[in-house]
């Protein structure tokens, strides 16, 4: 899957050099949802770069993920307005409840967590986005309720499938 992505992406720009590294990483992530090790190695080989250089660049930017995203991809805004309104506590609650650090995906594949700088909804601070849908004025309590709802919904869908 990932290797096909790299070939597909690079076949359209056969003369790509190292200066195209970041846009290519973005495109691979857009298609696969994350940057796999095999994709980074393949990209390095095609660009004639040491693989560790590609890994170094990718880890420099917050936007790149190294795990596949969960069914519920949660983006926590840590911009200035959200910070002032308590986003640190929101993030902490999410990490505690999900048992993962930002950048990771839960083992059941249900949730992934990502920190972003500002999602441009300062009026709703502190705000998170779940699969693109905004949830406003959060508190740790609201986070717990929200996660419970999502877990119930997932379980309901699962039971329905079995029935």
């Amino acid at each position: 899957m990932a290797l096909n992505t790299v070939s597909d992406v690079l076949d359209r720009v056969p003369h790509a050099k190292r200066d195209a590294l970041i846009p290519l990483l973005q495109e691979i992530q857009e298609r696969d949802g994350f940057l796999s090790q095999s994709a980074m190695k393949a990209l390095a080989a095609r660009l004639g770069l040491p693989a560790v250089k590609v890994y170094g660049v990718a880890t420099f930017y917050n936007q790149f993920r190294f795990h596949s995203v969960g069914r519920n991809h949660i983006q926590v805004c840590r911009g200035t307005a959200c910070h002032v309104k308590g986003s640190a506590a929101v993030l902490e609650a999410l990490q505690f409840e999900l048992g993962i650090e930002a950048g990771a995906t839960t083992r059941d594949g249900l949730f992934s967590l990502e920190v972003v700088s500002c999602i441009g909804a300062c009026g709703l601070a502190p705000v998170i986005s779940i699969n693109g849908e905004f949830h406003a004025a959060l508190t740790p309590e609201k986070v717990r309720a929200l996660l419970n709802d999502l877990r119930k919904a997932a379980k309901g869908a699962h039971d329905e499938q079995l029935a």
Binding site: Q37, P50, A51, V52, Y55, F60
Partner: protein, 574 residues
């Protein structure tokens, strides 16, 4: 020419020179932790900042070109305050374990802290907690002691063209790491240790084998044998307080006996043996239409480099083992048999200028004498110096002694192995004899001597022109191989040394990459050659005796079994 003013004194400089160079040319000392003459300036550590009139902030002199009319102050109160603060900030997250640190008293950061009279901790930062990387057989990385100067990253990329490590992450969580944080042993690292040589702290060091060697020395059941590489006798002295390039061969042998080694052998002997086999192999390849150019195989970092990056050129590598491994195979094989010693009781140690030799000793190819490794432990020159100090031996008070028979005798050809170009020169001396039956009138090949990264010569041997090339530093090797592959260069024989300048600049040598020092070490080897009674490997009486009594002739079946090997493609992500 450009005119500027440094500390009130008029100075002229070349255009494009860096401010740092011009200041240093004035005899003014400027501290740096990240700058290195031969590497791209990075401006990472900021210690070289100076005050330039008309500029609001302080200027990092290592990365700033001189300009006409500049007025510079190098040690103003503002500059000194900034430098001191920088040191204090670097120390803010540094472990306070100098007493237990391998680089205690040899640490650039510690020296600067002392220079700026930093006596207490003004800033307390969050300590780095990353685990140490002890996965490599040669090197240890301790990210907690890393100050992110990037010298290791640049040496690995620019001098060796390996890029096993790079900056990972960013900001406060930046580390120097390997691909996917997998550790050095699964990376493209070739174990050369040049990163250790340039590291200003103990973030990089060699795997220490002193404990293992001491355990063997203290075990009465063990018979412990040691060999020492050609370059070690001209570099160990620096750790003993002797002047650079002083040859301490005899007192080192005496000191090794005081440590308790039962036999002391000279790797120069198997260097001569390597020359016999390698020169014969070259003659055979030329006369039988074998694969050319032939490439030397005594530098273990280079071997791994070819296995990883140039697998199509593996047939070009000479099949000769390195002198260390030839000696290892002979000690546990023929020698153990002759002395009626069970090889399992033997403990074979080598003193090497090299961290990659630790890796080489563990290779599965290097256990010809049975299931156990031919070489049990490798100590670098630095480790030997530490061991001598720990055991209270003061070599300077000892009288010189000679190494033991049957592997203690060497021609000076085997000695110059320690300098880039030395293997080639030694091989040409013997190749001339093998092909013409006579010795060269002048055995010197001056074009192949010196610290340059690439040296070439066309040598006439009995009417046959042999094109030879000598490279050190693997980026130079990569450039040469690219030309050879493209057919731009026609070469018969290539000597490659992994480290710049050859083994005298090896990753296990006393910590110093000053080019003048490397040059002095080289000159010491050539001085030994100049005065040597026997200058050709084939004239070494002990080598002749070994062929008579055991091996038969170069490239014989016994030679092939004991002294030669074959390397394979190594699949490493890089």
């Amino acid at each position: 020419m450009i005119s500027l003013e440094i500390n009130g004194k008029a100075v002229s400089a070349q255009e494009n020179e860096t401010l740092l160079k011009v200041i240093r040319d004035q005899g003014i000392r400027i501290p740096t932790l990240c700058h290195m003459e031969e590497l791209t300036p990075s401006g990472a550590c900021r210690l070289c900042v100076v005050e330039v009139d008309g500029q609001r902030g302080l200027t990092p002199s290592c990365a700033y070109p001189v300009a006409d009319g500049m007025k510079v102050r190098t040690h103003s109160p503002r500059v000194l305050r900034a430098r001191r603060t920088i040191v204090e900030l670097l120390l803010s997250n540094h472990p306070d374990d100098c007493l237990y640190c391998v680089r205690n008293n040899q640490c650039d950061l510690q020296n600067l802290a002392s220079e700026f009279n930093v006596t207490d901790r003004r800033f307390t930062g969050k300590k780095k907690t990353g685990p140490m990387d002890v996965s490599s057989p040669s090197l240890i990385r301790d990210p907690a002691k890393c100050i992110l100067c990037g010298r290791c990253v640049r040496v690995c990329e620019e001098i060796q063209q390996v890029s096993a490590i790079d900056f990972i992450g960013r900001g406060g969580s930046t580390t120097v790491g390997t691909l996917f944080d997998g550790g050095l042993n699964t990376s493209t690292c070739i174990n050369c240790g040049q990163c250790v040589m340039v590291c200003p702290t103990a973030a990089l060091s060699e795997q220490d084998s002193i404990k293992d060697v001491e355990a063997a020395l203290d075990d009465p059941e063990r018979i412990v044998i040691v060999q020492h590489a050609p370059s070690v006798s001209v570099t160990l002295g620096e750790s003993l307080g002797l002047k650079t390039g002083a040859d301490c061969d005899g007192i080192m042998t005496a000191a090794l006996r005081r440590l308790g080694f039962d036999w002391v052998f000279d790797t120069g002997f198997t260097a001569d043996l390597t020359i016999m086999e390698e020169a014969s192999e070259l003659a055979q390849r030329i006369s039988d239409g074998g694969v050319l150019p032939m490439m030397t195989s005594c530098s273990p970092g280079w071997i791994k480099y070819v296995e990883q990056f140039y697998p199509d050129m593996l047939p070009n590598l000479s099949s000769c083992k390195s002198p260390q491994q030839m000696m290892g195979a002979l000690i546990k094989g023929w020698f153990a048999g002759r002395e009626s010693i069970d090889p399992a009781r033997l403990y074979s140690v080598s003193i090497m200028p090299c961290t990659a030799k630790k890796f080489e000793a563990q290779r599965p190819e290097m256990a010809q004498s049975g299931s156990q490794a031919d070489i049990d432990a490798v100590l670098t020159t630095r480790e030997l110096a530490r061991l001598l100090r720990r055991r209270g031996i003061e070599p300077r008070t000892l009288s010189p002694e000679a190494a033991d028979s049957p592997f203690g005798e060497r021609a000076t050809a085997g000695k110059i192995f320690g300098a880039s170009g030395g293997v080639m020169e030694a091989a040409l001396r013997t190749a001339h004899y093998l092909l013409t039956g006579t010795d060269l009138e002048d055995p010197r090949f001056l074009a192949l001597r010196g610290p340059q990264g690439l040296k070439e010569a066309a040598v006439n041997i009995g009417g046959l022109t042999v094109n030879v090339a000598v490279v050190s530093g693997l980026a130079n090797a990569a450039r040469l191989l690219t030309d050879v592959r493209a057919g731009k260069k026609s070469v018969h024989f290539i000597e490659v040394m992994t480290c710049p300048g050859g083994c005298v600049g090896g990753g296990g040598q006393p910590l110093d990459t000053d080019p003048a020092r490397i040059k002095a070490r080289m000159q010491a080897l050539y001085a030994i050659d100049r005065n040597g009674p026997v200058r050709q490997s084939h004239a070494n009486p002990s080598v002749q005796r070994l062929y008579r009594e055991y091996l038969g002739a170069p490239l014989s079946e016994r030679s092939h079994h004991q002294l030669h090997t074959k390397y394979q493609t190594r699949d490493v992500d890089g």
